[in-house]
Amino acid sequence: MGQTLIEKIIARNIGREKVTPGEIVTVNVDRVMVHDIFIPFVADKFEEMGFSKIWDPDKMVLIYDHLVPASQLDDARHFATGDAFAAKYGVRNVHRSDGICHQLMTEAGYVKPGDIAFGTDSHTVTYGCVGAFSTGIGYTEMAGILGTGKLWIRVPETIKVQVDGTLPPNVTSKDVILQILGDLRADGATYKSLEFAGSTFDAMTVASRMTMANMTVECGAKCGLFSPDEKTAEYCGIAPADFKNDTFLQNLKGDPDAVYDRVLTYRAEDFVPVAACPSQVDNIHPVSEIAGKAVDQVFLGSCTNGRLEDLAAAAEILKGRKVAPFVKFIVTPASRKIYREALEAGILETLAEAGAMITHPGCGLCCGRAGGILTDNEVVVATNNRNFLGRMGTSKVQIYLASPKTAAWTAVEGKITVPV
């Protein structure tokens, strides 16, 4: 009997031929990510556990992003605690203002196809875009990994999502994942692995796959995996010949006779621009149904949609146009590298010319801490991943999650607009 993608990754990690969903196994961790919000708690627990050293300090990556740049006095305390922890235990991979953790982990080469990685943030599932098993954990478990290099996991069942064909031009991978979340519902994949397959995903950029893997946690999934291909290899800095000769990576796809919990099948041509309406990520409606609703703010950014292709898509729409009066259009590239590339390509100039506020890479607005938080009765169209009550300000803010194209057109028109 064949295996799913996640079963292959786990089996190789523990040196077994195969694993079975439901089994509890202990895996060897290839990489961990700790971010600024939780580093003081990780540090406390690590010392409370009595560890004197990190199992492999180079396997830890410490990233400051949620609090960068500091907006409250407490934020700076977290940086100081992180720096002290890194110095004491010899952690060299520290990023203090390079971008959002989930962008950096693959962009800077920390996570490769087939790896197993854990992070203190729920959107750690993002690295499934390169075919890595990665997921979020709490700070006590993270402290345990730092001491032992190991973690127990339950081998998950797999839900396969098969999409074939060509997406309409006004539809992005964001619309695809939102529609899937709407169909699966917020708990439809709890404890399970999502496996994406089909010609539509083959044609996607790694960046577009990243958007989708990022949001798989919103239906409860433990991970969301794409098979690595030549594009993945190039993105991860794996030489074409090495990729071709790596039988594990070449075979890192669900077998035809693998056992799936469920298979969802779509035609790419059937997708339309959609939005997650207040205040659940699975409250999905076609943008055409909610078009015309006036907005106060538009946000383009986050680990979901702050990449070069997202900024470029917005710039293409905003070129020669202006952001509607009274609309605050906030643009946050996901990393310093993307910021620089967008600058060099003239994208930031186009966006700024149109009236955008361009901010430093970080998580501030998406997690409701800084950089454009909203108040009662305000409406925002945002490209990030959560529209929970109170997420980006008060609990009476109305958050609509949508694609960069929908966001850009909405910024121009000042009301929710179907992209053309």
């Binding site: 556990m49 407490d74 729920s122 979020g136 006590t140 917020a186 708990d187 409860g220």
Partner: protein
């Protein structure tokens, strides 16, 4: 015996403890803000030994361990839900707060009802009726029995 505080489907971790409180220096200082957007008086009204009862997907959203930690700090004895989001569930076990899947309880209780939990039997008694809960896998029960991950690692 403890009182029920009942919540619906898809209660997310932002609703349990909002992100603006996560940087408070201690869990005890965050605890008064538990469930603030859903029930502003929850922290005032809950007593040690009380229970949180919920429908599906309790604790979805972020990885914040502060979510189960504030409940534990307020003395919540256990969270009983139809289902849990996975990170919240792991965090509960790791900090020693029982997270128990009980499919039928939600429909039969309301906020303010008294219920009794037997961890050993794996049952809850409410209004004269007894409801069976799903038992934890042995590995997880072991962590919980020892009071959480720190105790069980025994470094």
């Amino acid at each position: 015996m403890g009182k029920v505080f009942r919540f619906d489907n898809d209660v997310d971790t932002d609703q349990i403890i909002a992100s603006q409180y996560l940087l408070f220096p201690s869990v005890e200082e965050m605890a008064p803000h538990t469930f603030e957007s859903l029930d502003a008086d929850f922290a005032k009204n809950v007593r040690p030994g009380d229970f949180v009862v919920a429908a599906e997907n309790f604790g979805c959203g972020s990885s914040r361990e502060q979510a189960p930690s504030v409940l534990k700090a307020l003395g919540v004895k256990a969270v009983l839900a139809k289902s849990f989001a996975r990170i919240f569930y792991r965090n509960c076990i790791n900090i020693g707060l029982p997270a128990i899947v009980c499919k039928d309880l939600y429909e039969h209780v309301h906020t303010g009802d008294d219920i009794e939990l037997s961890m050993i039997e794996g049952t809850v008694t409410a209004g004269g009726q007894t409801f069976a809960c799903t038992k934890l896998p042995a590995h997880l029960q072991g962590i919980l029995d020892q009071g959480g991950l720190i105790a069980s690692l025994d470094v």
